[in-house]
Symmetry: C2
Subunit: 203 residues, 2 copies
């Protein structure tokens, strides 16, 4: 929309904002002008929080989740069930599973899914480190919690093959109709799976 | 969505992003995780561009537009017509008018519109500085380019009264049907105004 700015400083800040995903030139300008109305201290707090994040963030040496320390809070937590590992694609998925409060085991963050089309092979993912973890013998069950996409299925299958004869139970999260959604809006594949994987009432 | 983060650093950065207008907790997390994938240098460039903007930005001592110097580029530009002042609400409006490439005069940024409901009186706006500018005698015409809202109309009227007998021509930007839009979608007030303010073909 705007080609010339009255200030090089505004120009820089707007261009930097516009590099963020989902933020166009117009929104970037709006955000930069918003910061101009804030105090110097507030803007320093904002800018420095981003720089500190990038500079000092670590990845947990066990599960590859992000962490402020060498071992993340989840892996360090003695009250969690170390016999279970939930395998997820990325950090956001750890947060999503944690938020359900239905899981008390550990995680392993793959850092992506196998996708030959995008040049992502298994060697670029944290699969070798997963197998090494399983060889240690503490793990009794792994829960595959990857996306229900071709890439997710490929990765599931690859991990399944890699595990081979290691003595662990392998399970995958249930696919089915969303809780609270109306049946008529579910796509046929999801609905089909949720019929096939139906759960009998116990009693 | 997420209540607990595995990292205090991520927590801080996400909370700071979520303070920006139009950015919720979910988007804030997405942006923070996006920065984690960038190099330390890139993130430093981003964070510092915001801090530098806030620390070093100035307001032009003549027109109150933002500027890197005491006098903005527009006011300092000798090729511009110093006999015209376009009065706008904010910095974005300067950019919008500049972008039309239809105006070669100077500006005066009010910093808001009179709005008793929001507690914004004329004394909080740059109206006194405008009148002082007009008293200097260089200005022949002022163009009121404020929003077509009750607040804009009030501000227009207040400035009109304040100018009193000062020897300047006062004009306001034309209100009418948007260029390229179909007549049937124009609201009746806009359409009414554009009929009243019709322009005769010259020839």
């Amino acid at each position: 929309m705007f080609n010339t700015y009255p200030s090089k400083l505004l120009d820089n800040a707007t261009a930097e904002f516009a590099k963020l995903p989902g933020i166009g030139k117009k929104t970037a300008l709006r955000l930069a002008l918003f910061l101009l109305k804030k105090s110097v201290e507030d803007v320093e707090l904002f800018g420095n929080s981003l720089i500190e994040l990038r500079r000092h963030i670590k990845h947990c040496k066990i599960c590859r989740n992000i962490s402020d320390h060498d071992t993340c809070e989840i892996c360090a937590d003695q009250t969690r069930d170390a016999s279970q590992i939930c395998i997820v694609e990325n950090i956001k998925d750890v947060l999503a599973v944690e938020n359900t409060r239905q899981y008390n085991g550990l995680y392993h963050v793959l850092g992506g899914l196998i996708s030959p089309m995008d040049g992502i092979g298994p060697e670029t993912l944290e699969i070798d480190s997963l197998i090494a973890r399983l060889r240690e013998g503490t793990t009794k069950e792994i829960i595959l919690a990857l996306s229900a996409t071709p890439e997710g299925d490929t990765t599931n299958f690859y991990i399944f093959r890699k595990i081979g004869t290691l003595p662990v139970t392998i399970s995958t999260i249930a696919k089915g109709v969303s809780v609270g959604s109306e049946l008529e809006y579910a796509d046929e594949i999801t609905l089909g799976r949720s019929i096939r994987n139906r759960i009998r009432f116990e009693g």
